[in-house]
Amino acid sequence: MTRPRLALAFALLALAPLAARALSPEEVRRVVKTVDERQRNAGDWRSLCYMEAKEKDKSDVVYELTVFRRSSDQKFMLLFDKPRSEQGKGYLRIEKNLWFYDPGVGRWERRTERERIGGTDTRRGDLDESRLAEEYDAVWEGDGKLGAYQVHRLLLTVKPGVDVAFPQIRLWVDQATHNVLKRQELALSGKLMRTSLYPRWKKLHSESKKGDVWFPEEMRFYDEIEKANQTLILVRSVDLRALDPNLFTKAWLEAKSR
């Protein structure tokens, strides 16, 4: 071996530990499962959300809403508290159907599960439990840095027969905590539609889970098609105590607006 070639071989050997090691499919599955597991509550959930939506050529709107969840049967309900014009409106998921109630007309309307909540860039899934492992197959795209964090970059593709809003998702998962720090959602055409940032995560001890439940305290959604549109969600006052067994009913939601 000539001297320059030998030098190159040594250099490559020296740099080898710095190069990212590809995660095996099993490791990728484990990462995605961990992402879900950390957010899983295995019980009831109640939280207060502040949602601020900015849209081009429109005045900003701020919603205050209460989110109710029950892990056992994947129940989900949203109740708008503010502004006054939205007060009493709500979404309720019964089995696979998402229903919307408007007290102004006193009528329930069936909506798609991928409905934009309150016309903003927020979807039901953003406020519900994470079910990435159930809905998507993931592949490792690379490791890298996102700001100060060392992250895994994963590409998730929807499993056949599963209906989701975005057929492909790219995740930046913090290697240290397995919290999602950044998420990109792609359309069927492959075009980037939305980028989400999760800068603050918080944990709470859950009696039902007998462990910690992690949740993003702040979520920022950026519309990549209409660049000027963005939504900020702040999650506050999370309560993991058991909710009234009859809470997830149309009658309960209707009663709140009377």
């Binding site: 309307e109 069936r110 798609t112 599960e113 991928r114 209906d163 057929p167 359309a187 069927l188 055409s189």
Partner: protein
């Protein structure tokens, strides 16, 4: 005998030229005004039918909804070649069929965005489209290429795009999965009012790509009949025939398809249901314009007719007062009361016929002049009138009906004073000093 009576009436009218000219002129003006208003309403209706049956509807439509789950409906006709074959069998009145894709998407350009109702079209198969849609820029033939779009001038302005520019269409597929399509503007058409403010055209294949539809799926079959007046009858019959063939057909609901999503989504069924509508159903959200105009015409007609009735009664009262001694003499030499009544009514009828005939001619002339000089409609009004140039559409029968109605009311108004004249006692009448 009638000729003699008419001659007497005409002479009486001629004796009071000024008064009768004034009254006849008023009748003529009212007639002309009503004829023009009728022409405007008919013009709008015809423009609406013309642009609507090019842009968004056939005379009869076979559309429908396909639901994957009971809460998620898509405006789709699946297995459309089979539906089309059945339609052709059941509608002998058919002139031609346009197969159109239906969609709704958000259009996002660099400087603007808006929601668009998309129509998937095969321009080669729709020669009428070429006749009605007037291009401002670009080429209709280019709309055959995939990834292209035709916009109307207001949409292009709002999105800040022109021919050659590209922008993104974003919409969920029939399964609710987000999808996008980048399209290039190949043609910008002149606006044709309200309908062109939110309708845009893409090649049929583009709709299938955006919504991930199979080749045998489409939005609706637009049926064009040889006689559009038969639309309601054909639609009702076709609804029954398709149901008889085994297709699930929705009950008649006079609303455009996009207003039915809420109801359809709340119903507990899945699969395909066909919906047969007429052009009037699809345009029901616009009929308020015609109703408002017809209401205004009706109100104006009533006010004007009251004025004419009061005028004619007043004129006859004066005439009777002036001719009381004459009436007395006629009665004294043997003229029957019925004959006196007849002469006065005939006089009024003659005035009414002459007045309405002059008014109809005047209205017709003004309408022809307006149509000839192409009066430009202000942009804001174009939106509702669906016309770029004011077009008054007059039909002989309609004009005859309006003029006849006014003449009849005027004649009837003369009946009461004429009856009073006929009731005068000859002796009293002859001694009358007036």
């Amino acid at each position: 005998m009638l000729a003699t009576d008419l001659l007497i009436s005409a002479r009486n009218l001629a004796r009071h030229t000024r008064r009768n000219l004034f009254l006849g002129g008023a009748i003529a003006l009212v007639t002309a005004l009503l004829v023009l208003l009728g022409g405007l309403t008919a013009g709008i209706r015809e423009a609406m039918l013309d642009s609507a049956t090019t842009i968004m509807t056939g005379h009869v439509n076979v559309g429908g909804f396909y639901k994957i789950t009971s809460g998620m409906a898509g405006a789709l006709v699946t297995r459309y070649p089979e539906v089309l074959a059945d339609v052709r069998r059941h509608v002998p009145e058919l002139s031609f069929v346009a197969v159109r894709g239906r969609g709704y998407a958000k259009a996002v350009a660099d400087t603007g965005s808006m929601n668009l109702v998309l129509a998937g079209i095969d321009v080669a198969a729709e020669p009428r489209f070429r006749e009605v849609v007037q291009l401002q820029a670009g080429s209709l033939d280019a709309l055959r290429e995939p990834g292209t779009i035709l916009l109307f001038e207001d949409q292009a302005k709002r999105l800040g795009v022109g021919v050659g520019d590209a922008f993104t269409l974003s919409a969920p597929t029939a399964r609710g999965v987000n999808n996008t399509a980048d399209v290039r503007v190949v043609a910008v058409a002149k606006s044709v009012g309200l309908l062109s403010s939110f309708h845009a055209f893409v090649p049929a294949g583009e709709i299938r790509r955006l919504y991930q539809l199979r080749a045998d799926n489409t939005g609706a079959l637009h049926l064009f009949l040889r006689n559009p007046a038969q639309a309601a009858r054909v639609a009702a019959r076709l609804r029954d025939d398709l149901a008889h063939d085994g297709w699930k057909v929705m009950d008649a609901d006079p609303q455009p398809y996009w207003q039915k999503f809420q109801r359809v989504n709340s119903e507990d069924w899945t699969g395909q249901r066909l919906d047969v509508t007429t052009w009037e159903d699809e345009l029901s959200f616009l009929t308020w314009i015609l109703s408002a105009l017809q209401g205004l015409t009706g109100l104006l007609a009533t006010v004007l007719m009251v004025i004419v009735v009061v005028g004619i009664m007043n004129t006859l009262w004066i005439a009777i007062r002036e001719r009381t001694r004459e009436i007395g003499t006629l009665r004294a030499i043997g003229m029957q009361r019925r004959k006196v009544l007849w002469l006065f009514v005939l006089e009024a009828a003659l005035l009414a016929v002459l007045g309405t005939a002059a008014g109809a001619l005047l209205g017709w002339g003004v309408a022809a002049a307006v149509n000839r000089v192409h009066v430009a409609v202000p942009t804001a009004v174009q939106f509702f009138l669906m016309q770029r140039h004011l077009t008054l559409s007059l039909h002989g029968l309609t004009v005859l009906r309006d003029a006849g109605g006014i003449a009849l009311v005027t004649t009837l108004a003369a009946f009461y004073p004429a009856r009073r004249a006929a009731r005068l006692e000859p002796v009293t009448a002859m001694h009358h000093i007036g």
